[in-house]
C-alpha cells in the first residue's frame, strides 16, 4: 500500500521526523507520532494477527479503537489496539497469534 503524498484538499504530506520500529524482527521506518496501524499499512503488511482457533487473519476494521480487531503484541504486551497507539522509536511490534504471550516483566 502507499502513503498519500499529494492531496487535493489536504495538500502535500507534511514532513515529520522518522522513527525506527521493529516489525516481526525486521527494522522499518515510521512517521513520528503516527498510529502503528497506519505505519504497517504503509509498509504493505497484509494482516496484523491470527485468530486462536482457526488461525484466520485479521486487520483493521473500525480504525478508531472500538472493535479490537487490529490488536498486536507491542513491546511484549499483547492485545494493543494498533489503530490508536502511536509508534515510538525502537518499538517492537509482533503479529499476534491468538491471545498472544506476555513477554514483559512488569
Amino acid at each position: 500500500m502507499q502513503r498519500i503524498i499529494e492531496h487535493p484538499v489536504l495538500g502535500p504530506l507534511p514532513e515529520v521526523p522518522m522513527v525506527k520500529i521493529i516489525v516481526d524482527g525486521e527494522q522499518m521506518e515510521a512517521r513520528e507520532g503516527e498510529m502503528i496501524a497506519a505505519a504497517l499499512i504503509a509498509t504493505g503488511k497484509k494482516y496484523f494477527r491470527k485468530t486462536i482457533k482457526t488461525h484466520e487473519p485479521r486487520g483493521i476494521y473500525c480504525g478508531i479503537g472500538r472493535c479490537t480487531d487490529c490488536v498486536m503484541t507491542v513491546n511484549g504486551i499483547p492485545n494493543v489496539r494498533t489503530c490508536i497507539t502511536p509508534v515510538e522509536e525502537g518499538m517492537v511490534i509482533e503479529t499476534q497469534m491468538g491471545y498472544g504471550v506476555w513477554k514483559q516483566e512488569q
Binding site: 503516527e34 483493521i60 480504525g63 479503537g65 472500538r66 472493535c67 502511536p86
Partner: protein, 363 residues
C-alpha cells in the same frame, strides 16, 4: 476525590461544543477523551458541511475542529486526554483511568456524555478478512493518517457516508470499482452522489455483497442482485477485482456508559437503535446526566454540535449559572437551529424520531 462542576465525556463535535457552552456560561468544566488528540471524528471530515451559515455550512469539518479547539484553549478549558472513563457511580462520580496507569475519581455536579457512535458491520462469508473495514475506518486512514488501505475498493452502502468516503477515496488516489446499495434507491444527498457518479463510479441499486475472497487479505468480492424480498437472485453474481471492501451501513450509538450509569433506554430504529431517553434540554432520566451528539441518536456533526451547545447551556443553567431570561432565549435559539438542520426530505424523519423520544415523559 477530585471535584468539578461539569464533566464532559468525549471531545468530539458534541462534547467540545458542550464544554464550550458550559464554560462560556461560567461553569468549571473538565473535558475528558480516551484518545491522545481531541476532535473525535471531525478531523477526518474534509468535506464542506451542509446547513446554513449558523451551522458553519460550507466549512470543512477539519477546520471546524481546529476552530473549536482554539476556542477551548482561549476559555482555558481543562482537558484530559488519554483518559478512559470506565464508569459513572452514584449518578455523580466519574471513574477515569488516566494514561493507562492512574485511576482517578471525579465527583461531578453535572455530567455530559458525548461518546458518539460506532459503525455497523454487515456479515457475509469473508467479512472478517483484512481489507474489509468500516467506511469510516478507510476515511480515518486516508484523511487522518494519510495512508491508502487499498487501491481497488468496493463500497457497500450509498448513504452519505458511503458516497462521501467514496469521493474521498478517489481524492486519495484509490479506484472505487463500484458502490452497491441493497435498497432500490440511492441513499445519499444528491450533491455528494452526483460528484461520485460524475467521476465514473458505477452504482448498483438492489445489490449487495455476497462474499469476499482472499488468503491473507481481500482479493475479490462477489456482488449479487437482490429481489424485493431482499433475497439474492441466482445468476446475477458478478466478481469484482478489489482489495478493499468498505462497509457504510450506518452507525450505532455508544450508549454503554449511559446505560450502566442507569439512564433509561429507549428504542429508536431510525436514530440507530437503543438510545438514552432525553428531553429537549438533552437531560436524561437522571437529572445530573446529560447527553449530546450521536449517543442521543445518530445524525450529523452539525446536529451534534447544536445538541452539545444545548446540553452545555442547560447543564450550566441547572447549576444556576444562566439567568432565567437568558436561558429561555438561548434554549429557543438552539431549538430553532436544530429544527433548521432537521428539515427537508432527510431531516424531517429525524425530527419526527427525536420528537417521539421527547414526547415520552420520564421522572
Amino acid at each position: 476525590m477530585e471535584e468539578r462542576e461539569v464533566v464532559v465525556i468525549g471531545a468530539g463535535p458534541a462534547g467540545l461544543s458542550a464544554a464550550l457552552e458550559a464554560a462560556r456560561s461560567g461553569a468549571h468544566v473538565l473535558l475528558v477523551d480516551e484518545n491522545s488528540k481531541p476532535g473525535g471524528q471531525l478531523f477526518k471530515q474534509i468535506h464542506k458541511f451542509f446547513g446554513s451559515r449558523d451551522h458553519r455550512a460550507g466549512v470543512r469539518g477539519i477546520d471546524i475542529g481546529t476552530q473549536l479547539l482554539e476556542e477551548a484553549d482561549a476559555l482555558r478549558i481543562e482537558v484530559w486526554l488519554d483518559a478512559e472513563v470506565c464508569g459513572i457511580f452514584n449518578q455523580r462520580d466519574v471513574w477515569i483511568v488516566r494514561n493507562k496507569e492512574k485511576s482517578v475519581n471525579v465527583r461531578a455536579q453535572r455530567i455530559i456524555i458525548a461518546t458518539g457512535a460506532v459503525e455497523n458491520s454487515v456479515n457475509f462469508p469473508g467479512w472478517s478478512l483484512p481489507g474489509v473495514m468500516g467506511a469510516g475506518a478507510a476515511q480515518t486512514m486516508i484523511n487522518l493518517h494519510r495512508v491508502l488501505p487499498g487501491y481497488k475498493v468496493l463500497m457497500v452502502g450509498s448513504g452519505n457516508v458511503g458516497v462521501i468516503v467514496s469521493y474521498q477515496l478517489l481524492q486519495a488516489g484509490a479506484d472505487v470499482k463500484a458502490i452497491v446499495e441493497a435498497a432500490p434507491r440511492l441513499g445519499g444527498y444528491g450533491v455528494h452522489t452526483a460528484k461520485v457518479r460524475r467521476a465514473g463510479v458505477p452504482f448498483h441499486t438492489s445489490h449487495t455483497v455476497l462474499e469476499a475472497r482472499g488468503t491473507d487479505h481481500v482479493e475479490s468480492a462477489t456482488i449479487v442482485q437482490i429481489d424485493d424480498k431482499w433475497q439474492p437472485i441466482p445468476g446475477t453474481e458478478k466478481v469484482l477485482d478489489v482489495d478493499t471492501i468498505c462497509i457504510a451501513a450506518g452507525l450505532t450509538p455508544l450508549v454503554e456508559l449511559a446505560f450502566a450509569a442507569g439512564c433509561e433506554p429507549l428504542y429508536s430504529p431510525l436514530l440507530g437503535g437503543m438510545v438514552p431517553w432525553h428531553d429537549a434540554s438533552m437531560c436524561t432520566s437522571i437529572p445530573s446526566i446529560y447527553i449530546a451528539g450521536d449517543i442521543s441518536g445518530v445524525e450529523e456533526a452539525s446536529t451534534a454540535m447544536e445538541e452539545g451547545r444545548m446540553a452545555g447551556l442547560s447543564a450550566a443553567h441547572s447549576l444556576g449559572y444562566v439567568a432565567e431570561h437568558d436561558y429561555e432565549v438561548g434554549f429557543k435559539a438552539a431549538e430553532q437551529r436544530m429544527l433548521a438542520l432537521r428539515s427537508g426530505l432527510f431531516g424531517q424523519k429525524r425530527r419526527d424520531a427525536k420528537a417521539a423520544i421527547m414526547a415520552q415523559t420520564r421522572g
